[in-house]
């Protein structure tokens, strides 16, 4: 019998033909997949796997965060945590595409300005009563407001950022200014005194206005608005109020500084302040990391309260990030339990939470929880950071209203047009208010 004949006989005995072998080969991946699925399904019934999404994407941020997550999983062996990170510019895209594709994380870390849209779309799970009580009692009022919408707290605040007047100490000393400006009038005068020219060439500008960036334009102006006794929006979100007299005066101050020739417009990437080309600006605490990395020398950087209008008092705008739980997750209890651990003091009321440790040491940020601020008073006592922390006591949250981002962008454009002298402060604010009220009405603000 020839070899081939023997083989054919063996195949005939076993009933395996070429066709059936090919069919079996094609079906093998499906069988393997089904087996794997059944195994993973069986494992899922016993363990919990939480997917956490943040914008803390650099290696320096991921590593300490993963170490904290590992600390939790070691104490809770049935919990596995997967950290997903994207750059801030892609975060909202990731959230929306995940929602559309049915691949949403269990826990989001998101910018509080997105709350109205997230709540309207039922993206977020309502915190259990214990978590909500903890949040309202353990954070400053402005911080709680920043995590709330429609009278409901939606998550644990994490890093808090607020705005202050940042100035070049050496410039002020050279100009003979004993203290940074405290009022609108003093701010304008100081900007004039600090501006230097070599003939027609500007060599040093008294003030830097951040342009072409909605937060850079609107946040400082809103701080000035509040510090002048003004309001941004009505309590019931039915209309904006920033076009009233206090807002007009705040914008008039800015246009006066521009028209005096005491200001330049730029973006943080231009590094004009770091290079010593400008003397003052209104900026947020997170800017400190860039200043520390520059050649300006932190001993030369001063921080002061927002200048106030007559009869007003310094009020800084603050914004924040918060942890929230997806409304689509089946692991709601596990997610809130993890967030409770993450944001609670480790070992007693005067200790820091894991989140507080991460924010202060890895990010040089200000933690939102009051006990974390106290526990890290040494780090937060830094001469640059401390004024920002102190300002939180009276700071107000960036208005969390429907269409907030669109309103902010519209306001930015109008404010810039006033800087460039296209129209008067009153006209631009009225134009912005008209657009903002329409947006509020469309988005169900009233």
């Amino acid at each position: 019998m020839k070899h081939g004949e023997n083989t054919r006989n063996q195949i005939a005995k076993t009933g395996i033909t070429r066709r059936s072998f090919a069919q079996g080969l094609a079906g093998a991946p499906f069988a393997l997949g089904a087996t794997a699925y059944s195994v993973s399904t069986a494992r899922a019934q016993d363990d919990v796997r939480l997917v956490v999404l943040t914008h803390w994407a650099t290696q320096e941020q991921r590593e300490p965060l993963e170490a904290i997550f590992n600390e939790y999983t070691e104490a809770n062996p049935n919990v596995e945590i997967e950290l997903q990170t994207v750059e801030f510019a892609e975060l909202l895209n990731r959230i929306t595409t995940g929602q559309l594709g049915g691949d949403s994380p269990d826990i989001y870390h998101f910018y509080n300005l997105w709350l109205p849209e997230f709540v309207a779309s039922e993206l977020l799970s309502v915190p259990p009563e214990d978590n909500a009580s903890d949040i309202t009692s353990a954070y400053a009022p402005g911080t709680v407001d920043g995590a709330s919408y429609n009278n409901q707290v939606w998550g644990y605040p994490t890093e808090v950022n607020d705005y202050q007047l940042v100035y070049n100490i050496a410039h002020l000393q050279e100009a003979g200014l004993e203290a940074p400006p405290a009022t609108f009038t003093e701010l304008r005068e100081a900007a004039q005194m600090l501006t230097k020219r070599d003939g027609d060439d500007l060599t040093q500008a008294g003030f830097l206005f951040l342009a072409s960036w909605d937060s850079g334009v609107v946040h400082p102006w809103t701080s000035l608005l509040w510090s002048n006794g003004g309001e941004y929006v009505a309590d019931d979100y039915s209309e904006v109020l920033f076009n009233q007299q206090p807002g007009i005066e705040a914008l008039q101050l800015e246009t006066d500084i521009v028209n005096d020739g005491s200001a330049i417009m730029g973006i943080p990437e231009d590094a004009d302040f770091e290079a010593g080309r400008v003397s003052m600006t209104i900026m947020a605490n997170w800017w400190g990391a860039l200043l520390r990395a520059s050649d300006i020398g932190m001993e030369n950087v001063g921080v002061a309260p927002i200048p106030h209008g007559e009869g007003g008092s310094p009020i800084a705008l603050q914004y924040e990030w918060l942890w929230g739980v997806s409304n689509a997750t089946e692991k709601v209890d596990a997610a809130w339990a993890f967030l409770n651990w993450l944001n609670s003091p480790r070992g007693g009321a005067e200790t820091s939470s894991p989140m507080g440790d991460f924010l202060t040491t890895a990010l040089n940020a200000i933690p939102g929880r009051t006990s974390d601020q106290e526990a890290h008073a040494d780090l937060l006592g830094d001469p640059f950071v401390q004024p920002f922390v102190e300002a939180l006591a009276t700071a107000r949250s960036e208005p969390i209203i429907p269409g907030a981002q669109e309103i902010k962008t519209t306001l930015q454009t109008q404010i810039e047009s006033a800087w460039f002298g296209q129209t008067s402060p009153e006209d631009v604010l009225n134009t912005a208010a008209e657009a903002a009220n329409r947006i509020l009405a469309e988005q169900g603000g009233a």
Binding site: L92, N93, I95, T96, T97, Q99, L100, E117, F118, A120, S121, L123, D200, D201, L202, A205, A211, S212, W213, I264, M265, I267, D270, D272, R277, G403, Q405, E406, T409, T413, E416, S417, F420, Q422
Partner: protein, 311 residues
């Protein structure tokens, strides 16, 4: 002349090729070969296009399921055309940018190509030098030029100052921001079109120039009567492609100016992006996309008709 068709006719005339079923089989084979690409095109181009039109008739923030989008009919289009001044402004900005970029870069690229097609020294180096900006990433170019065009401390103002010329605000000026951006775009893209024109020029038969010169034709007559007509297909390609790219520009203004100052350099695609991904108004953004498509389609058809070679 279609060579294949002529050859076929010759062979048919000689009785060496049969018509009828064999020609149909060739057609079927052709369809079969293009079918995979056609199917991919339907799925990944036509499908999303139709979906875009569908979404433009709804309100959608991308957080709610697609099946729950409320229908608004043509409300998005009505809003953009009558109640949105920023849409009109960005449309005008986009047309301004396209006219400036296409108009100047085509003429410049053709002029440089004519020069570099001639017997000049170091021709290869000159060609490489003109082409090099094109191979640089637009984002990198925008970052560098932003610093160079700084209104107070940029390198360009430094040069102007050295020659005793007045400093210019460039990107910080409402009037100069767009022309400055157009200049950067021309600097970046002209080299690419120059290469295309060079290829077209080198396809022009030299004996036509010789014959014309024998008849006494000067440089201008040579260019107008020989070069330009024979360069028509290349010119058509360059203008159409440049127009398409200019009307959809995003990366350059996004990095160079962020659309400022005061939206003077905000293009329609930038506004569309912001409306979709910052404001979460996908219905309105897709309406802009549909209208931009319609405009580009009409402009392209007009260009093709005007520049198409007469047969």
């Amino acid at each position: 002349m279609d060579v294949t068709t002529a050859a076929e006719r010759a062979l048919v005339g000689q009785g060496r090729v049969r018509t009828g079923p064999r020609v149909n089989r060739r057609s079927l084979a052709g369809y079969a070969f293009v079918a995979p690409s056609l199917i991919l095109l339907m799925i990944f181009a036509l499908g999303p296009f139709l979906f875009t039109i569908w979404v433009s008739l709804h309100e959608w923030n991308m957080l709610t399921p697609i099946g729950e989008m409320p229908s608004v009919g043509l409300a998005n289009y009505r809003y953009l055309l009558s109640d949105d001044p920023l849409f009109r402004e960005t449309f005008v900005n986009t047309v301004y940018y396209a006219l400036g970029n296409v108009g100047i870069s085509v003429v410049l690229a053709l002029g440089v190509a004519l020069i570099l097609n001639g017997p000049i020294k170091l021709r290869a180096i000159w060609r490489a030098a003109f082409f090099m900006p094109y191979v640089t990433a637009p984002v990198a170019i925008a970052i560098v030029w932003r610093n160079m065009l700084d209104g107070n401390w940029g390198m360009v103002n430094g040069l102007l100052d050295r020659f005793g010329l007045p400093q210019q605000p460039f990107l910080d000026s409402l009037e100069q921001a767009m022309p400055s951006m157009i200049a950067v775009a021309i600097w970046h893209g002209a080299g690419y079109y120059m290469i295309i024109f060079l290829a077209g020029l080198q396809a022009v038969p030299y004996d036509l120039y010789e014959a014309a010169k024998l008849d006494g034709a000067g440089s201008w007559r040579l260019f107008w009567s020989i070069t330009l007509p024979l360069l028509r297909p290349t010119l058509l390609f360059v203008i159409v492609v440049n127009t398409l790219a200019s009307l959809q520009v995003f990366d350059l203004p996004f990095v160079l100016t962020q659309g400022g100052p005061v939206n003077e350099t905000t293009t329609l695609v930038m506004y569309m992006y912001e409306t979709a991904f910052s404001f979460l108004r996908m219905g309105r953004a897709t309406s802009m996309a549909v209208m931009l498509f319609a405009v580009i389609f009409v402009i392209t058809m007009i260009q093709l008709r005007l520049l198409r070679e007469k047969e």
